[in-house]
Amino acid sequence: MADESTPTPPPEPPTAGAPTPPVGAQQAAPPATGDGAPPAAAERPGAKKRAAKEGAAAADTEKEEKKKKKGPPKKELILVASSSPHVVSDESIPRIMYTVCLALAPAILVAVYCFGLQAVKVLALTSAACLVTEAGLQRLMGRRLTVTDGSALVTGLLLAMTLPPSAPWWICLLGGALAIGVGKQLFGGLAHNPFNPALIARVILLISWPVELTTWMKPGQGFVNLGVDVVTAASPLGLMKEELIQKGSIQVVSQFPLRDGLLGLNQIGSLGETSVIALLLGGLFLLYRGYITWHIPVSYIATVGAVAALFWGIDPGHFAPPLYHLVTGGLFLGALYMATDMVTCPVTNRGMLIFGMGCGILTYFIRTFGAYPEGVSFAIVIMNGAVPLIERWVRPRTYGHNLSAA
């Protein structure tokens, strides 16, 4: 616990008044009696660190001890019944958020490589809109400004990854404002939002402006023309749906080069629907840092694969093979970065597995039978709404209670 890299500010020196040890069990350490001083000092990392910084460790502690013994026992013993958490780690919201940004970097680089300035434009506009909305609304409501904690930036980047590279400027700006305004601040800010803000914005945009949100540009032309005359094409899932509706069978699937989906350099779709490998790289980094667990991505992706395999096995002429479903669309982006959002996913492992399975089933059914070609955003938002129910269902047994059910 006494870690040198503790980012939390050191607690007040004991002489300043009521000692507030971070650990509730240490309240017995009585500063007034004096004999408990050495252990108390050892348990106070903040005071120690301060002393070390000033380069007069010994003198300082002596002084403190003297003061403790001599000082008038005005506020002799204040028992602080502090609530949990009693153990402070060096994690913080900015650290988590900027790590997520870093994890998104490979996918962002691929997107910029594929779509050039168009991708840069979309990323910059949505992020700027998110940051400005966050700061503006917090100011308006008289709350503390937390715009630098990176959470609005993550929302902006994630939203940009779900948008098509040819999205007009007003879609980007409005999307950012909706994500933070409707998706986050209306509910009370970070950690109070029941739904993923980026996905709420995407769903609102997709329902409101379906044409703008499903016009895709071909990759590899963004660096030359940042304008209107881009060559558009259909996304793989859009093609599949079109063929299903028009011909009742799918041929486009068999012609789809799988390598494109994995590398993503020639993939048509949103910014974040390009390279599975790049997304996986960032996802593994998050997993390594412990900000996500394997439960949701694995259960989500495996469920999509399993359901797709089932339907494909029944009628290969009508349903796309499982690999096609896995490497097209926003499945990996959603499964790795959005379904795993700490605020909006269940907290227990079993809950996360159920959550991922629900997302997977919904994604497949919306893709195959729904009105929209892609179902990842709808599926995750719907399952976000079901999180309270899931958590009720898988609530762990309280230690010492209900022993027979264990």
Partner: protein, 228 residues
């Protein structure tokens, strides 16, 4: 209560839609356009005034145990009359509103006012109450309809207001848009109230201060020790 207060409480302080959140079904379903909204509002207003009046007239003759079925019967008859009248004179609007006109029977506002006001007050006061509540309902549902139509279709009462460059936000004419807009309107109303309350507090404070100044001639009031 004064009659003017009875009339105005439904408009703002006890607005049935945005304050008491009553009768949400037609509010959310019919407010897709300003025209539909005002049609629904006026139909409800007519039923509300008539039902409040009749119920206040017969309130003493109805035993308390069977009052709810009796009220519902009276309301249903009035709604049927309004339904037929709309079919006769406002056929197109009647077609658009469809099922929601007969559903006025089960609108909470109407039974709520019957129980809460008409069953305890005179016939004339009940008419005034029905008028105030009905106007409050009409105004709020029409405001909601205007906002949704403007954003979702670029027009108000079918008149295009925003140019061709405006891409309508389809969500606003779909059910989620109704919830979003309703919440925003209710929040705006509360915000206005908070601002008014704050202003009233400052005014009262100033008045008190002036009265004190007058009484003491501007000199500070000597406080007993310990009261600083």
């Amino acid at each position: 209560m004064k009659l003017s207060a009875v009339l105005t409480q439904g408009l703002w302080k006890e607005n049935p839609t945005l304050r008491m959140m009553l009768g949400m079904c037609p509010v959310l379903a019919v407010s897709t356009s300003a025209t539909n909204a005002i049609g629904m509002g006026v139909a409800t207003l007519a039923v509300l005034v008539a039902s409040n009046f009749t119920i206040a007239l017969v309130k003493d003759a109805i035993p308390a145990q069977v009052r709810i079925p009796a009220y519902i019967l009276m309301i249903a008859s009035l709604v049927t009359a309004v339904d037929m009248a709309m079919a006769a004179w406002f056929f197109e609007l009647h077609q658009t509103l469809g099922l929601f006109i007969p559903l006025i029977v089960v609108n909470c506002i109407i039974l709520g006012r019957a129980e809460g006001f008409a069953a305890k007050n005179t016939a004339f006061a009940s008419i005034v109450d029905g008028l105030g509540m009905g106007l409050g309902f009409t105004l709020s549902i029409t405001t909601l309809g205007c906002c949704r139509e403007l954003l979702g279709n670029g027009s108000i009462f079918g008149i295009p207001l925003l140019g061709d460059a405006f891409k309508p936000m389809l969500l606003m004419v779909l059910p989620p848009g109704a919830f979003l807009m309703l919440g925003l309107l209710a929040a705006t109303m509360r915000r206005v109230d908070m601002a008014l309350e704050a202003r009233a507090r400052t005014v009262a404070e100033g008045r008190r201060q002036r009265a004190l100044d007058l009484a003491t001639g501007g000199a500070p009031i000597p406080m007993p020790p310990g009261f600083e």
